[in-house]
Assembly symmetry: C2
Homo-oligomer: 320 residues x 2
């Protein structure tokens, strides 16, 4: 019999779950829809039933030692999801307390998805052995997880690591948070797309992206256009890296990490984003920090980063 944990990654549309061993391998995984139920209790029942099915499929080969959950606006201290805009359940949802009824004898821990991914990077990815690093997830928005002295930074309220909402342009682009000029309005899949449209307005040069509607455009299409040498796409990556690199120089001045890992959709473009990010970060660093901080691509599997991160959160808790 092998020790394992349950990893649960709650997203706006799907909830992925799986049983994960101590090396970060998913022994079984599946998903349910997140948004079927308006009531959290009904959703939770469906999720737990599905997890029990998954466990049965392993035919008693594993002993479940803990549960890790990654969720938007997840509060590690309280075990709650708080006012998550893209979920059906409003206000404060006591996820861990409710889950305890089903798993009374094992630790259950919850944090936000990118915090969980940062612990995943430390337990199973490129940050093994590192004590000070940061994960930046460039998806629809920009999420971040900060590790200091080998511990995730939760802050006094459980919500630390919201680098997507540091301000990079005074009175700049509208952000989903209600503010203006936030980093994620520039450095994210959505930010990259907005920058393409800004450039299509600013420049008179030709681009294959002039034939794509705003609502159809994806980071992947911009990446592919850049690989074909499209000048607008290339400049969009350069500008995105410039904004991100400058912001990361300020972040380095806070916690001086050994490495910053990029993950999420935009990170799949690899050197297109890491090269300008590194260049502009270095240009803006205090001399004492120069040529010390690596910009790396996450080594967790892109499809399963949330699930593996949630499992890593549980494994990390079991070590405490």
């Amino acid at each position: 019999m092998k020790d394992a944990v349950i990893g649960i990654d709650i997203g706006g549309t799907f909830t992925k779950y799986g049983i994960v061993d101590g090396e970060g391998k998913c022994l079984v995984e599946n998903f349910i829809k997140t948004d079927t139920h308006q009531e959290f209790d009904l959703y939770l029942k469906e999720l737990v039933d599905a997890v029990e099915e998954a466990k049965k499929s392993l035919k008693g080969e594993v002993a479940i030692k803990g549960v890790g959950i990654g969720a938007p606006n997840g509060n590690y201290y309280a075990g709650t999801i708080e006012n998550a805009v893209n979920l059906n359940w409003k206000g404060v949802v006591p996820v861990v307390d409710k889950m305890k009824k089903y798993f009374p004898d094992i630790p259950i821990v919850l944090t936000n998805d990118v915090n969980a991914a940062a612990i995943g990077e430390m337990e199973f990815g490129g940050a093994k052995g590192m004590r000070d690093f940061i994960v930046i997830a460039l998806g629809t928005g920009l999420g971040s997880g900060i590790v200091v002295n080998g511990q995730l930074v939760y802050g006094h309220d459980g919500f630390a690591g919201e680098l997507g909402h540091t301000k990079v342009v005074h009175n700049g682009r509208d952000c989903g948070c209600g503010g203006k000029g936030c980093l994620e309005a520039y450095a994210s899949a959505t930010g990259l797309k907005r920058t393409v449209y800004e450039l299509l307005a600013d420049r008179m040069i030709d681009s294959e992206l002039r034939d794509v509607k705003f609502n159809d455009l994806t980071a992947k299409m911009i990446s592919e256009a850049a690989q074909r040498g499209d000048a607008i796409a290339l400049e969009a990556f350069e500008r995105t890296g410039k904004t991100l690199g400058r912001a990361l120089a300020d972040t380095v001045a806070h916690t001086s990490p050994e490495a910053i890992f990029l993950s999420g959709g935009v990170a799949n473009s690899r050197e297109l984003i890491t090269v300008p990010t590194k260049k502009y970060m270095e240009e803006n660093l205090l001399p004492i920090f120069r040529n010390k901080v690596k910009i790396l691509i996450s080594q967790l599997p892109d499809m399963n980063v949330g699930l593996v991160g949630a499992a890593a959160l549980a494994w990390n808790e079991l070590k405490k």
Copy 2:
């Protein structure tokens, strides 16, 4: 016999030293000049002799358990001072190694002055019992010390917490670091003074500060003018708080502290600086962080903050 530690605060002109008990009380204190000797070894000999004298004056009442040192560009991990611009000794000075010859049997620890002050705030000041907070020292420059999970953030290289060099204005004011637009060029005693001169240029209103030479102007004079209702001085504090508050909103997005303590010369102006700082920080915070973070004045004695901080560093090390 009472346990005590030696605290040493190395500044550009003076080195303060003292013997400090477990409650942060200086049992004896004095200073030597820092810049008398070009050679570090000669300086160290003079310092150790002076410390031994101080110890003798206590007539065997104390048992010295450790040494804590605060110094510019102090590296906690290596125990070195590295390329400090305002000290005679160039390059990397192995302070702790050399000090070990004189105190071979007790722990000796070193960090930069504001990191030490942050530990002082936690051990003996307003941050007692807090696990996540930040100290911002508004002196000639802006120094900072960040505490996360009850531990000082040193970063992978020992130099974390350089918030004075985060960028707040693109291509803004020249900074002593060689960069442009750094926070400390705006939010510090020097930054406040530069803002007064900017306002004297921008505005046509009368001010008592129009009769003061740039080289004579101090933060204390600006504070006193503001207390007398001088409009330029009042606006200078407002602008300084605006820049600092905005920057601190970004800092909160990193580590979500319970409180931010202001210390140093500008902090002596109390509400003149805390009120606008708090106001503009709140305006720029992500909703999840609003009305949670206190802006407080350091509770360490202004004259002795470096010495008490250095001693606190030693006490903190002894607890590990």
